[in-house]
């Protein structure tokens, strides 16, 4: 059982256990859709929806699921919410759905979600699981926002489609292309680890 306070349950997802920067999970969508801030945001919110609801369901019925079939059950539950998110987006936000394309269904294999069910929701109360999911989701959205902001601003000079860099700036197109994604994330990871070491040294 967890001995953290409710507050810590939430904040750990933002930095200490940030799913992307510390746990190195969910990297596929992180790299793929962060070319544009609006895409990163949409993907983050969709993933949050799936994570939160999956965690709620799993922690509610954890007592009834035999150990041997737990992974299969988690997968079905997660896949259900992913399909719901995918359909809703296609129906009500067709433009975003189109630009995110097949990456929305890929939320089902986002290691963060399955990982959370296995590591937390299956062993904690509904309340705690909800807070944990909330924290992890926020951490994920945060990571996506940071990455996509850097990529969009440096790559095309806009933020959420609005021009933010003056005409003196020659955009680094490479930032919205695959190499830019890898490089940015690699450097961000390095920075995150560096900060971590510095704060540890100080304590």
């Amino acid at each position: 059982m967890s001995t953290r306070s409710i507050e810590q349950e939430f904040t750990k997802g933002l930095w200490d256990d940030n799913p992307v920067f510390r746990q190195l999970l969910g990297l596929c969508p992180t790299l793929a859709v962060t070319g544009w801030v609006i895409n990163g945001l949409a993907m983050g919110l969709a993933t949050s929806f799936v994570l939160i609801f999956s965690s709620l369901v799993v922690s509610s019925i954890k007592k009834f699921i035999p150990n041997q079939v737990r992974i299969a059950s988690y997968i079905v539950i997660i896949a259900t919410f992913v399909t719901i998110a995918d359909r809703f987006m296609a129906a009500f936000f067709p433009l975003i759905s189109k630009s995110l394309g097949p990456y929305v269904p890929l939320i089902v294999v986002n290691c963060i979600i399955l990982g959370r069910q296995e590591a937390f929701s299956s062993k904690n109360s509904v309340g705690r699981s909800f807070i944990d999911a909330l924290g992890m989701s926020s951490g994920f959205v945060l990571a996506l926002l940071i990455l996509s902001s850097i990529r969009e601003v440096l790559g095309v000079g806009t933020f959420l489609g609005l021009q933010v860099m003056g005409t003196w700036f020659k955009p680094w197109i490479i930032m919205i292309l695959p190499p830019g994604a890898f490089l940015t994330l690699g450097i961000l990871l390095g920075i995150a680890l560096h900060i971590e070491r510095k704060t540890k040294a100080r304590k």
Binding site: P66, V69, V76, I77, T83, A91, P94, P171, I173
Partner: protein, 201 residues
């Protein structure tokens, strides 16, 4: 209750629950999604065949679909061809609008492309590429004008502007348009473009 029985029951239950949930969601969103898809096509057709009041799909084959636009009185206003072909980096899908005699291009719309941003992706840019297609005479084969120009007047009668640094993408669009026009004319000759037998979109 034995473990195996419990496993099967739980899995079946979860499966059924999931299935019914999804079936419900599907019912709720199916129409909306279909509507979005249709509206997207109709809006696009309206853009390339101005004056369209209602549109209809006439013919479909792999990578090519032909629509017609009719005005309020049901008179043919023009054709819209949706065609796909390989560009420089991926598939390009465009929508071409012509007048009823297939001698003039109303305008060109790029529906989907994955060309290099800043270069080939400029095929979707009005100023550098698309505006040169407006009201283009296509009774003769269209060709590419190199180097790129800034105004319509500098182009020959059947010439299209290139994008600097993106010749391959420009050529891909040109070839796609030329082959689509040929196919359209061929279909017309074969009498496959008659609109009486088809259902309304």
């Amino acid at each position: 209750m034995s473990l195996s029985a419990r496993m099967i029951i739980v899995l079946t239950f979860v499966g059924l629950l999931s299935g019914s949930f999804l079936a419900t969601v599907n019912l709720l969103t199916k129409e909306r999604i279909e509507l979005n898809r249709q509206r997207e096509i109709e809006e696009a057709i309206l853009q390339v065949v101005p004056g369209t009041h209602s549109s209809q799909k006439l013919y479909e084959e792999k990578d090519l679909t032909v629509y017609i636009g009719k005005d309020k009185k049901g008179i043919l206003v023009g054709f819209a061809i949706q065609a796909s072909g390989i560009g420089f980096q991926g598939k390009i899908t465009l929508l071409l609008g012509t007048n009823p005699s297939i001698k003039k291009i109303n305008s060109l719309k790029i529906i989907d492309q994955k060309e290099t941003p800043g270069l080939g992706a400029k095929i979707n840019d009005r100023k550098s590429f698309l505006k040169f297609w407006d009201n283009k005479d296509c009774s003769n084969l269209l060709t590419l004008h190199k180097p790129a120009v800034k105004t319509q007047e500098e182009l020959g009668h059947s010439e299209i502007n290139t994008i600097t640094g993106a010749t391959i993408s420009s050529e891909a669009v040109l070839n796609l348009v030329n082959s689509s026009l040929n196919r359209l004319r061929q279909l017309e000759k074969e009498g496959r473009l008659s609109s009486e037998e088809q259902d309304v979109n």
